[in-house]
Amino acid sequence: MQVISAFALAALLSPQVDGAQSAANGTVLQPMVPALDPSLLPTDPVVLDQLAGGPAKGAWGVSVQGGYPWFTLRALVGVGARLAPLFELETALGRRFTTSLGLSLAWVNRPYFRLSGEVLLGWLLQEGEISRRGPSGELRLRMAIPTRRVVPYLVLGTRHALLPSRTRIERESGTDTSWSVRHEWTPWGTLGIGIRISQQLGIDMAADYGWVDAPSSVAIPGAHLGLHFGGGR
């Protein structure tokens, strides 16, 4: 049975070879399915896993996305049940940094649709005129509709940072210290397209809309180009 399955898979993955042989025999056969249909690939391409989250067990990937104003380094490794620990380092123009560790889990994993959720916890550091620092967290949804080579995707996220401040009141009797925490909310959206170059290599381009410190600030739209590579697939 396994041998038959292997032959069937090989036939499906190599329709042009079959076509050439058939032509040589005087008959022309159409491929049964389009070449490299994502549903028939033995593993998911890295670009899909990186953009849509929830890679299979043992599959790992690294993404480098750069543009204006955001630059992101993202690494994922599947540990089973479509669950993957992830690491993210993000910076805006080299002034605002967020380093996070998190988990990615694919809730829906169909051949033409993947939906995953991510939770991240980390630390925010912003230097410059308006410096900010404190613990940060994010909840994120990733959706992708993979086709033969192209992976359109959408990311929606809600980021939160807690920014502690200290107030010291110097009285005649001594100094009183009190702490307060300000909440910074950053809703996030990314809409883009990933392109599979090979199973281990892909690229993406997308528009980013991160509204830092909403709603009291002005959102700056951005865009990026990304490179995705990995293994274990």
Binding site: W123, P135, R166, I169
Partner: protein, 148 residues
């Protein structure tokens, strides 16, 4: 050893950066004293830094950090207020006052009676308790016209 090598840089970075965003340092001052004025009404007090930012020729005078309103219906007028002085925002202490005689909340206005105002520079600052003698002998004078 390996763990220490890994955690030490992280702890060092965290210690360098800290987690405090705004570190506000306030100095509590009890300001009390008398007010000399020929009229009664509502006493408006403004508390200013003598110099709020900049230095040398670019130093910016004044910088309000608190204001109070005190009933001044009867003479002699006096007040006793406790304020929190932001230490990182400037230096020196200036107290400016005026009396709202017509109750419109505005210092003078066309067609309205001229209202008394005055300023006191606290020379003994910093101190947790300062005594002020505010003489309101100018007419329709804003704080910027009285200092420096």
């Amino acid at each position: 050893m390996k763990r220490a090598l890994l955690t030490s840089p992280a702890l060092f970075l965290l210690a360098q950066q800290g987690c405090v965003n705004d570190d506000i340092l306030l100095y509590e001052v009890r300001v009390h004293g008398s007010v000399s004025a020929s009229e009664t009404g509502t006493l408006h007090l403004e508390f200013h830094h003598e110099q709020s930012f900049g230095s040398g020729a670019l130093a910016h005078p004044l910088g309000e950090f608190d204001r109070r309103t005190v009933s001044a219906a009867q003479t002699p007028l006096s007040f006793d207020e406790t304020i929190l002085y932001p230490q990182q925002k400037g230096q020196g202490l200036i107290i400016y006052g005026w009396i709202d005689t017509d109750g419109d909340g505005v210092l003078c206005a066309p067609g309205k009676p001229s209202e008394p105002s005055g300023l006191f520079r606290v020379s003994s600052f910093p101190a947790h308790g300062v005594e002020v003698r505010l003489i309101l002998d100018k007419r329709c004078a804003a704080v910027e016209s009285l200092f420096p």
